[in-house]
């Protein structure tokens, strides 16, 4: 007997309808702005200097283009494996496996970076609360740092294992608090510039918004890789279509409103930090190595006693993201286990919590080991992981976008809008991201790249980015020997969207095992064309 899923919504999301404000809150929460900014401003400024605001504007373009591809793939093949499943369907098992590995590597990198940021801000906040400066230095003590980080990791892993989620109220408070504190920070920074007591004290210049003024293509590529990372996750706003309340206009408006909020916020913070500190390498200048965690350094000088609010906001943002970030690698490993690309254990769902238990714990262990090794190898671990992370996101988003183009090829005739959203936009975005990935990879072989950490004369960022991908190739070869079925295309066959409908309603569009679950049924009725 094959029981069909019954119930109100019969699909993954959708317990509560989401209104316009709710959609914007969700959109902003998926990019964790306070966390993303604190880790990225320093490395970006050191790559592109005063043109940082321009890069934040430009970096959004490939993300927007790729987001269209994500949306199309997500409604055609809703699946736990996302990049892995989609690129396996489009390009076959080998590229699919590497795409999945890229996603896993990116999420493991972001886990270790999030945890590292959380540790810094925990001690900074304790120092601000107790008024004892020396407490903040504990974060620089390697054993203490590692121990604290492992505690954070374990807690976040446990929360993810239990399948707990942040709720509507928590999300509203978190997002609202982040926005208020970031705006406060900007106002305070501008006030100090105006009063003449800012260390940089630069006047706003139109050249800051001119991307062509960046010195070299290398610098440009490095900057865009980083800004791709700050917009990472934004594409969720587009795939939320079905959840939004009422009319057909709400999703569009929500996506637009989220874009405006995020871009304006990023530009304002970038300009505020730039005019306050300048881009020099001395003191508080953004080019210096101390700036791998900008708000930790600037909070006190800019906001005075209110700096504790900024610490709290970044700590809350990164801690909340830390636990939800575990879902991403866990779900991809679940799909890879399910389709036989990884050992069977990864496909295990814990009955009581309905979460991929084995995969969650595996992600926690890998991220912890990774963080410990990195912390010992690199003095500027946050800087290097962020830079490598940008590369990795470029890689797997690029692969995903091209998978979209290849999957939907041949369905475009006489449908210009469909061609734009599944062909031209993701194709262009994907090619751009892969170009930035290659350029950054080549540049990062230079031992002085990024923070200047190196192993055996090769830049650590290169080892992290390309080395981890190469390791993926090795693991893939092992899996090929052990589990040939997946690599013969027996569990996840190569396919393409049929010409009569982009949603794969003829059955060839749906992945073999997983997706014909609750979600597919609703998707078929509910997808606006």
């Amino acid at each position: 007997m094959e029981p069909a899923v019954e119930g109100r919504s019969a699909k993954g999301l959708g317990t509560g309808r989401v209104g316009l404000l709710g959609a914007v809150v969700i959109g902003v929460s998926t990019i964790a702005p306070a966390y993303a900014l604190t880790g990225t401003l320093g490395p970006t400024a050191s790559a592109v200097g005063e043109q940082m605001p321009a890069i934040f504007l430009v970096g959004f373009v490939p993300m927007l283009l790729v987001a269209f591809g994500y949306r199309a793939l997500n409604s055609a093949m809703p699946d736990s494996g996302t990049t892995f499943t989609w690129s396996s369907r489009a390009f076959g098992p080998w590229i699919g496996w590497m795409g999945g590995w890229g996603l896993l590597a990116a999420t493991v990198l972001v886990l270790s970076n999030l945890a590292g940021i959380a540790v810094d801000f925990l001690y900074l906040m304790l120092a601000q609360v107790t008024g004892d400066e020396s407490v903040a230095d504990l974060a620089a003590n390697v054993p203490v740092n590692i121990a604290t980080c492992l505690v954070f990791m374990a807690l976040a892993c446990w929360v993810a294992y239990r399948g707990l989620e942040t709720t509507k109220a928590v999300q509203y408070v978190l997002v609202g608090f982040q926005l208020v504190v970031l705006v406060w920070f900007c106002v305070a920074a501008f006030a100090r510039v105006a009063a003449g007591d800012a260390p940089g004290g630069l006047a706003l210049s139109a050249g800051w918004f001119d991307p062509l003024a960046v010195d070299s293509f290398s610098a440009f590529a490095a900057g865009v890789s980083l800004s791709v990372f700050v917009y990472w996750g934004w594409d969720v706003v587009l795939t939320m279509n079905e959840e939004t309340q009422g009319s057909r206009t709400t999703p569009g408006r929500a996506a637009l409103a989220t874009i405006v909020v995020i871009v304006v916020l990023y530009l304002t913070v970038a300009v505020a930090v730039l005019s306050y500190t300048g881009t020099g390498e001395d003191g508080l200048g953004l080019g210096g190595g101390d700036q791998e965690n900008v708000f930790a350094v600037l909070a006190g000088p800019v906001m005075g006693p209110a700096a504790v609010l900024l610490s709290l906001s970044v700590l809350a943002s990164s801690a909340a993201s830390l636990q939800s970030t575990f879902l991403s690698p866990a779900r991809t490993m679940l799909a890879m286990g399910h389709y036989g690309a990884l050992p069977r254990e990864y496909a295990r769902v814990t009955p009581r919590f309905q979460s991929p238990g084995y995969a969650t714990v595996a992600a926690g262990v890998i991220a912890s080991v990774f963080y410990v090794v990195m912390r010992i190898l690199s003095e500027d671990v946050l800087w290097d992981t962020i830079t490598a992370l940008g590369m990795m996101v470029c890689f797997y988003y690029g692969v995903t976008a091209l998978a979209c183009v290849w999957y939907f090829r041949g369905t475009w005739k006489g449908r210009p809008r469909h061609f734009l959203s599944t062909g031209l936009a993701p194709g262009l975005g994907g090619v751009l991201l892969l170009v930035f990935f290659v350029q950054t990879s080549v540049d990062s072989t230079d031992p002085s790249y990024g923070s200047g950490s190196q192993v055996g004369g090769v830049g650590l960022v290169f080892l992290l980015g390309v080395g981890v991908l190469a390791l993926g190739g090795v693991v893939m070869a092992v899996q090929r020997v052990r589990r040939p079925a997946f690599f013969r295309g027996e569990t996840l066959a190569v396919g393409r969207s049929s010409t009569d409908g982009p949603e794969g309603a003829d059955g060839t569009g749906a992945p073999v095992g997983g997706a014909p679950g609750p979600r597919t049924e609703t998707t078929r009725e509910g997808v606006p064309e």
Binding site: E6, G16, G22, D79, T107, P351, G514
Partner: protein
């Protein structure tokens, strides 16, 4: 397969794990002994859209639903011969919510849920607790000891309102099944707590009325002795293959707060499964 003549159906909360296993075994015992059909229900929790993770993730519900289907099929396969059962995979914001929706839709007359002894001495688990506070039909708690077949019915009565409802329910069940009914009187406990004479006499009359209905060979009264609920419950010699019916308002002063801990305490001390019958029944 046709449903049994009585048409009574029980919703069994299955989760694919240990709790679901206990509920399933008790459900099978109830079905065999009381002549009911089973609806084995597994509720998939749907993601809260506000729980959007960073960075974006795939939709896991397809794979979870597939595994859950496997668990349900396995569960049906393990039920003893002759038990009429269907299974349902449902989706809801929370497990209790989905179970109650299933109860309403399927017209079930009880819901069976696993409540193993956990690390919390007063806990019955979040699912059982929520059901106890909100279910319109009896909630049957499957503890660690589950009989294979039921041969005895127990009903606990005291002076607080609700004795009538739970006695009537128990008498009806005894009549329908032919099982002997043991009335567990907690009057002594209530007398210590200062219940007035008139209330106790009223309950005694109710018990006498039930005895006339069933006949004295089928009904026995057992007195719970002791200062506390735990002592009173422990003073009784329980048959291991019994089921205890408890009226929720009988035990709960403020039904919201008292019910969970009391049911949990009874579960701990009573060596048989407990069915909590809501105040409003009949």
């Amino acid at each position: 397969m046709n449903p049994p003549a009585a048409g009574r159906r029980y919703v069994v909360a299955h989760d694919g794990g240990e709790r679901g296993e206990q509920a399933l075994r008790l459900g099978a015992a109830l079905a065999t002994s009381l002549g009911a059909g089973l609806d084995v229900v597994l509720v998939l929790r749907s993601d809260d859209p506000f729980g959007q993770p960073y960075p974006p993730v795939g939709d896991v519900s397809g794979l979870v639903a597939e595994q859950a289907r496997g668990w349900l099929e396995e569960a049906l396969g393990r039920l003893p011969e002759g038990v009429e059962a269907r299974c349902h995979l449902r989706s809801a914001g929370s497990v209790p919510e989905g179970l109650l929706e299933a109860v309403e839709e399927l017209g079930a007359s009880a819901v069976v849920v696993g409540a193993p002894a956990g690390p919390n001495p007063f806990g019955v688990g979040p699912v059982a607790r929520t059901l106890l506070h909100s279910s319109p039909v009896p909630v049957v708690l499957a503890g660690d000891r589950v009989p294979r077949v039921l041969r005895h019915l127990y009903v606990a009565v005291g002076t607080r309102p609700g004795a009538q409802a739970v006695l009537a329910e128990a008498a009806e069940a005894a009549e329908r099944t032919g099982l002997p009914l043991h009335v567990v009187s907690l009057l002594e406990l209530d007398a210590r707590a200062g219940a007035d004479e008139a209330a106790r006499e009223r309950v005694e009359r109710l018990v006498d009325g039930t005895r006339e209905r069933l006949g004295s060979t089928r009904l026995s009264v057992e007195l719970g002795k002791g200062r506390t609920m735990a002592e009173a419950v422990a003073s009784i010699e329980w048959e291991p293959d019994g089921l205890l019916l408890v009226g929720s308002s009988r035990l709960a002063r403020g039904r919201q707060t008292f019910l969970g801990p009391t049911a949990a305490r009874m579960l701990r001390h009573v060596p048989v499964p407990v069915a909590v019958v809501p105040r409003g029944e009949r």
